[in-house]
């Protein structure tokens, strides 16, 4: 959770800083928070949180399962008639499905807080306007769309990471390769899937 805070906070600050510069030209600096909230809830938070989950948890899961496979612990479970899918895979899949949206919501508010610090405290923008305009352009579909996207990304990350770890082979080098593959494939899949999900959720109702 701490890396999520450290990623989304500065990201919100940067978006606020850049949008404040443009909005100030048109005398609409109070609308900075509207842009920031829409950008965060729809795109930035689900994608960046999922990338962080893929790079932390996904890599860890692939390495853990890969090490278990290489040490033949998974084979031993099968010999003892313990289903490794139920014992190892399903809990991780469901945990990713449930936790990524929660982390996304935390990231949303961290980004808004980072934007507030830069726009109001550093750049001297009106704090009341920042808070007041925060949810002007944001509707429930944006919030729910971001949460659903995060859940799908979480499931995707866990499927890819568990798959690469579960079928790792080739000793220590194979575990490293599985970990590498899980992170690369997860991040690429997140970004490609994000395009299609954004089109499905928001593409017809901008």
């Amino acid at each position: 959770m701490i890396p999520v805070l450290f990623v989304l906070g500065p990201m919100g600050a940067v978006v606020a800083m850049e949008s404040l510069k443009v909005f100030s030209i048109f005398g609409a600096s109070g609308m900075t928070s509207s842009l920031l909230s829409v950008a965060l809830f729809r795109e930035l938070a689900p994608v960046l949180v999922s990338v962080m989950v893929a790079s932390q948890t996904g890599a860890e899961i692939a390495a853990e399962l890969g090490a278990m496979r290489v040490r033949e612990q998974i084979d031993a479970m099968e010999v003892m008639s313990v289903d490794p899918f139920k014992a190892l895979i399903v809990p991780r899949l469901l945990a990713g499905l449930f936790i990524t949206p929660v982390l996304t919501l935390v990231g949303n508010f961290t980004g808004i807080l980072g934007g507030y610090i830069i726009a109001v405290m550093v750049k001297g923008s009106n704090g009341g306007a920042y808070i007041g305009n925060l949810f002007v352009w944001l509707n429930m579909m944006d919030v729910m769309g971001g949460v659903i996207k995060a859940a799908i990304f979480g499931l995707l990350i866990m499927v890819i990471s568990c798959y690469h770890g579960f079928y790792a082979h080739g000793g220590a080098a194979g575990v490293g390769q599985a970990t590498n593959d899980s992170v690369v494939h997860s991040v690429v899949s997140i970004l490609v899937m994000n395009y299609f999900l954004t089109t499905a959720f928001f593409g017809f109702n901008i």
Binding site: T57, E60, P91, A95, I99, I160, F166
Partner: protein, 52 residues
């Protein structure tokens, strides 16, 4: 034709991986709907993901 076959042979492993991954996901989804459900293990994983 040669180009098409070459392209298919080049990207066939990618399609195979996607197919295997889909089968893996279906196996995992089937394991969810079993009477013995590992709730504690799931909560442990959720805690690990949050603590990171």
């Amino acid at each position: 034709m040669e180009w098409a076959l070459h392209t298919i042979s080049r990207y066939f492993p990618f399609v195979t991986v996607l197919g295997r991954m889909a089968r893996f996901f279906l196996d995992a989804a089937a394991a969810v709907f079993t009477p013995k459900f590992y709730t504690v293990k799931m909560l442990e994983q959720m805690q690990r993901m949050c603590v990171h």
